[in-house]
């Protein structure tokens, strides 16, 4: 599943996510011709180039409409969407909310490094208040956007999880759970940018107690030797939306694990695949019949 040599900076958290997806693909023996990785624009969105599968490196903020299009006619494909904090939470915000609501089966990986890295350090929606960037040389003015609380507030949400790139076992386990889930799985990954936001996650990486791991039998399952790295753990039932929102709004900690899962949420592709398998003639007939309804 390895394609081109990744051109991310040394020490970039994206490497870890790429490795996890490649491992998962190998583990599940996903046929490359039946796997699609869709991305928008950004550092993380170079992802499709490094996967030896089908890919679509799309427009800025427009990864999700492309993915929805793919899913609406191809229910058989393994579909991953890789997006960044700028791509998803700024320009792609509208698409994101509706894609989550449509709940089509895909794994959305939001690689959140708190900065526009590709364009050299501009404030993104998730940039922390007071962080200095080229667009806010005196520090960002606003409280950052919390993609998790936002995702948990969208109607028909079905899977929301969070992980940190510097713990590969957890990244792998989270992406695995997300992929297994039927519906839109939204995974936000705190991703280190060694160049522009190297200090944002440095403390948490050094001191695992700043990371709060959510455990539950229905949550992300981690091997005991990997789980013991996290001193700070809490039991959280992924069906409890209210508690999920409370944990997600923790500002001082990095909560990781599964916030919420609802396998019963409706999926739009159940409707969009109607008519698949019809012959061209049948389709034409159906179309004409539909148009006839407008005849006066």
């Amino acid at each position: 599943y390895c394609a081109a040599e990744p051109r991310w900076c040394p020490g970039c958290g994206d490497h870890s996510v790429l490795n996890a997806v490649q491992r998962l693909a190998r583990q599940r023996q996903m046929p490359p011709e039946q796997t699609v990785v869709v991305s928008g624009i950004g550092c993380s969105s170079r992802f499709p180039h490094y996967m030896k599968t089908y890919g679509f490196h799309g427009l800025h903020g427009r990864a999700l409409p492309v993915a929805c299009g793919v899913r609406s006619r191809r229910p058989d494909l393994n579909l991953f969407v890789v997006t960044g904090d700028g791509d998803c939470c700024a320009i792609g915000m509208g698409h994101w909310v509706h894609a989550m609501r449509y709940n089509m089966d895909m794994t959305i990986l939001l690689l959140d490094n708190h900065i526009y890295g590709l364009t050299k350090k501009q404030t993104s929606p998730t940039t922390g208040k007071g962080s200095v960037s080229n667009t806010h040389p005196q520090g960002s003015f606003f409280v950052p956007l919390n993609p998790i609380t936002l995702a948990l507030g969208i109607s028909n949400v079905s899977f929301v999880a969070q992980t940190v790139d510097w713990n590969p076992p957890h990244v792998y386990a989270t992406i695995q759970a997300a992929h297994e889930h039927k519906g839109t799985s939204f995974v936000r990954i705190f991703q280190r940018c060694p160049h522009f936001t190297h200090d944002v996650f440095a403390e948490a990486q050094k001191d695992p107690s700043q990371v709060l791991m959510m455990t539950h039998e229905d949550g992300i399952q981690l091997a005991p030797e990997a789980a013991k790295l996290f001193k700070n753990q809490t039991e959280h039932d992924p069906s409890d939306l209210q508690e999920a929102r409370e944990i997600a709004s923790h500002e001082e900690l990095f909560p990781i694990g599964l916030f919420y899962r609802n396998p019963q949420a409706e999926r739009y592709e159940n409707a969009s695949v109607a008519g698949m398998g019809m012959s061209p003639q049948e389709k034409l007939t159906a179309l004409e019949r539909a148009l006839d309804r407008f005849t006066i």
Partner: protein, 832 residues
């Protein structure tokens, strides 16, 4: 005002916040509530630094300036009048004359000369001095008769030693033009004289040649007619006979074409000699009303709507006329020597252009000068300027600028962008154009530059700052500063504050910046802002000294046009540096502020020390725009420094590199010595060990070292075995224990390197460093491939680079030469 200060209530929390908000609003938006101590808006401020400098004589006023006759002796250069009078007094003293009274009143005479009615920038020195001396004598009308007589004697003695010739130049907006004309006449006088002499020589010789040809001709018609008398004319045609007669024996007359050519050349040369007498020192193309300059004829002044556009054509037309003379000179020289070959030279002279002329010939011609304002050059006329500077024609553009803060747009400074593009810089970008940037407050430096300019044959731009005399204001009255001295201070502070910098860029001087660019003459060129020690009195009235850096803001504070960017704040609103409260910005001296202002401005409001009418220091806070403009000038100056090789970054880097290389070489040499010593020690130890094991006593009997070596050998044995086991190919070379954790240290403390593979984020860093030492496992996570395939230094480097911090270098192998103490310390720091 003092009462107000005394009655000021102590700072309370609310009031403090109000002041801070008002100051901050002014700093950010340039507006806000009025401050009680702020002088009226039309009154310029008087910065303490400028006052201190003036008191110290750092910025001594150098006008009037004496310019000797341009064609005079070389060693008598231009000098300030003060110096001229001083020297004259010295000569008087040497002659035995009394000078006691005059010595104490020298400054008064200079002052009276400066107060002469300067309607024009220069005037004959003799008349100005005569009047000044007369007024000086008159001013002592109240003194006793004896004293007046004594004074009159001294003045008379002085008068005899004062220069009779030359002109005095005043601090006047058109003074740069006078200085330029003087430099030009002086620099080109010699060349013009020599050219003229050469023209005269050639024409005399040509005349002689043509005259002798006339004599050589057989008999001319008039002569024949005269010889034959009146009757003869009726019988013979004298002209036809003249043509038939052979020339005089032993000679040959000139061919008609050649004669014609020589006559034409002679005519051109004579015309030039005639024209040369009336030619002005330079042709000045200007717009608007003509500048009134003494000694400049009307024909030298050419009024044009767009003088820069007209200049190339004007030059070409002028050169067309001059080329006739230069061509004639060449033809004359060839003809005199009899080397003119029509087949060859006709074609050459047909294509004769001004580029074919020699430098001396070009220098001998009066140049074409364009007078423009810097404001117009920065705006509407910029493309024309660019065309002239790129045209390679030796056209001199003189730009006089009364305000160094003027923006490129030509309008008055819009500081909102905080960026003031430099016209001098722009001109230098034309690469082969001569650029002079100067200011009238440094007349000596300016004259030096103008001297170079007068010699240059490249297109050139001289950008000269002439501080404009501000109208007298109450502040000036209070400080007793006359208006032209006020503008002098304004210009001087702009110069020292790096807003009006001086430099020359001369492409003819070489190919490198070091040869072409000259930044000398600016105050303290090695520092970003010049710093001066200024005396002041503290609150208790004690004399203190303060180091003050001059910035653009000091000049701007003196200029009423920029007064709105400053506001004097009351004493109770002062906040000391380092005083932080509730996220509010502190107040900071502008010098310190600029030091910290690199990319982002410091979170503080910059201020300037100014003096009020009681000479009490006050703080004047400034707007953000003004602070940004100060920073801009600092950055501009830094670039100029870099070009001039002052504090050059390349040099600094080269020095650092050299130092590093030297250190590394010394370290390597030391390592080699250590290694050598270690090797020798090991060889000795092995020899002795072999001796012990084989029973052959190598060491002398009773040597105390032998038993301890045996013990050492015994202790080393298991370690060797362990090392061999870890290299076993079957074990994959990994020193990771079955549990995935680190290998336990050996008895002797040796610890194999290991990787927390599970934490590896697959970033390729270690693999790229040494693919034999590190490898990926099936999950594409790193592990040690072969601990022996790399050095300890590589292990430490990989561990340091690893973003997941999962590589542990362990302890070095004994044979690893890279395991320096420094390296081991770095490894320990990682583990720590």
């Amino acid at each position: 005002m003092k009462e107000q200060l005394v009655n000021t209530p102590p700072r309370t929390g609310d009031e403090e916040r109000d002041w801070a908000e008002a100051i901050r609003e002014f700093h950010l938006a340039g507006q806000g509530p009025a401050m009680p101590d702020d002088p009226p808006p039309d009154e310029p401020l008087w910065p303490a630094a400028v006052h201190g400098l003036e008191a110290q004589g750092e910025s001594a006023y150098a006008f009037p300036f004496l310019l000797p006759e341009p064609s005079g002796e070389e060693n008598k250069g231009p000098r300030p009048l003060r110096e001229v009078l001083g020297q004259a007094l010295e000569t008087c003293r040497q002659d035995g004359a009394e000078t006691l009274l005059l010595e104490s009143h020298l400054e008064k005479i200079v002052h009276l000369a400066d107060r002469w009615d300067w309607t024009q920038p220069s005037a004959p020195a003799a008349s100005v001095l005569e009047e000044a001396l007369q007024r000086f004598l008159d001013s002592f009308g109240d003194s006793s008769q004896a004293a007046r007589r004594e004074l009159a004697q001294e003045v008379e003695a002085l008068r005899r030693h004062l220069p009779r010739e030359g002109a005095l130049v005043a601090f006047h907006p058109l003074a740069p033009l006078v200085l330029y004309a003087w430099s030009l006449t002086r620099g080109r006088h010699q060349a013009a004289r020599e050219l003229s002499r050469e023209v005269r020589r050639l024409s005399t010789e040509l005349e002689g040649r043509l005259e002798s040809d006339t004599r050589l001709k057989g008999e001319d018609a008039d002569h024949i007619s005269h010889s034959m008398g009146e009757q003869g004319d009726a019988l013979l045609d004298a002209a036809a006979l003249s043509d038939l007669l052979p020339p005089k024996r032993g000679s040959r007359p000139l061919e008609p074409q050649r004669r014609e050519r020589m006559e034409k050349a002679l005519q051109d040369l004579r015309e030039h000699l005639e024209a040369w007498r009336n030619e002005p020192p330079f042709y000045l193309l200007h717009r608007g009303s003509p500048p009134t300059l003494p000694g400049l004829e009307t024909k030298a002044l050419q009024r044009h709507r767009e003088p820069l556009q007209a200049a190339p054509d004007f030059f070409d037309e002028l050169m067309g006329r001059r080329l006739r003379v230069l061509r004639a000179m060449r033809i004359a020289a060839l003809e005199i020597e009899g080397r003119y070959t029509p087949e060859l030279h006709d074609a050459v002279f047909k294509r004769f252009q001004w580029q074919s002329c020699s430098e001396e010939e070009l220098r001998a011609m009066p140049p074409v000068v364009v007078l423009e304002s810097a404001q117009r050059l920065s705006g509407r006329a910029m493309s024309d300027l660019s065309q002239v500077l790129g045209s390679s024609r030796p056209i001199h553009v003189l730009a006089l600028n009364d305000d160094p803060l003027t923006r490129l747009s030509g309008d008055q400074l819009d500081l909102s962008t905080g960026y003031l593009p430099d016209l001098g810089y722009l001109a230098m970008a034309h690469r082969e154009a001569f650029v002079l940037q100067g200011t009238l407050v440094r007349p000596g430096l300016l004259l030096e530059g103008l001297g170079k300019l007068s010699q240059t044959l490249d297109p050139s731009l001289a950008l000269i700052w002439v501080p404009e005399a501000a109208d007298a204001s109450p502040k000036q009255e209070a400080q007793k500063v006359p208006s032209h001295r006020w503008s002098w201070m304004l210009g001087w502070s702009a110069h020292a504050g790096r807003a009006a910098t001086c430099f020359t860029y001369s492409p003819a001087d070489g190919l490198t910046w070091a040869e072409r660019f000259d930044l000398r003459g600016n105050p303290q060129p090695e520092s970003l802002c010049p710093t001066y020690r200024v005396p002041f009195q503290d609150a208790e009235g004690r004399e203190q000294e303060l180091d003050v850096s001059l910035t653009l803001a000091h000049a701007a504070a003196l200029n009423p046009n920029y007064r709105r960017h400053f506001r004097v704040i009351p004493r109770q609103a002062w906040e000391e540096e380092g005083e932080e409260s509730a996220g509010r910005p502190r107040q900071m001296d502008i010098a310190g502020y600029l030091e910290q202002f690199d990319q982002t401005p410091p979170s503080a409001v910059p201020y300037l020390w100014v003096l009020d009418q009681d000479m009490t220091p006050r703080r004047a806070v400034m707007t953000r725009e003004m602070a940004a403009a100060c920073r801009d000038r600092k950055r501009s100056w830094r670039m100029l420094q870099e070009l001039a090789g002052v504090n050059n970054e390349y040099v600094r880097r080269a020095e650092a590199k050299l130092r590093k290389e030297l250190e590394e070489r010394l370290l390597a040499e030391q390592e080699a010595l250590l290694e050598e010593a270690r090797k020798q020690g090991a060889e000795e130890a092995i020899d002795r060990l072999v001796g012990i094991l084989t029973g052959v006593e190598m060491a002398p009997a009773g040597d105390l070292a032998a038993p301890s070596l045996a013990e050492e050998a015994a202790a080393q044995e298991p370690a060797h075995e362990k090392a061999a086991a870890s290299h076993d190919p079957d074990s994959g070379g990994q020193a990771v224990s079955p549990g995935g954790g680190p290998a336990a240290p050996d008895d002797d403390g040796f610890e194999e390197p290991y990787i927390d593979t599970i934490l590896c984020t697959s970033c390729n860093d270690c693999i790229q460093l040494n693919p034999l030492l590190f490898k990926y496992n099936g999950d594409k996570q790193a592990e040690i491939a072969d601990a022996g395939a790399g050095t300890y230094a590589q292990l430490v480097q990989a561990a340091e680079n690893c973003p997941a911090h999962c590589i542990h270098p362990g302890t070095p192998r004994p044979e690893d030469a890279t395991a320096t103490p420094e390296m081991v310390a770095r490894a320990q720091a990682l583990e720590g």
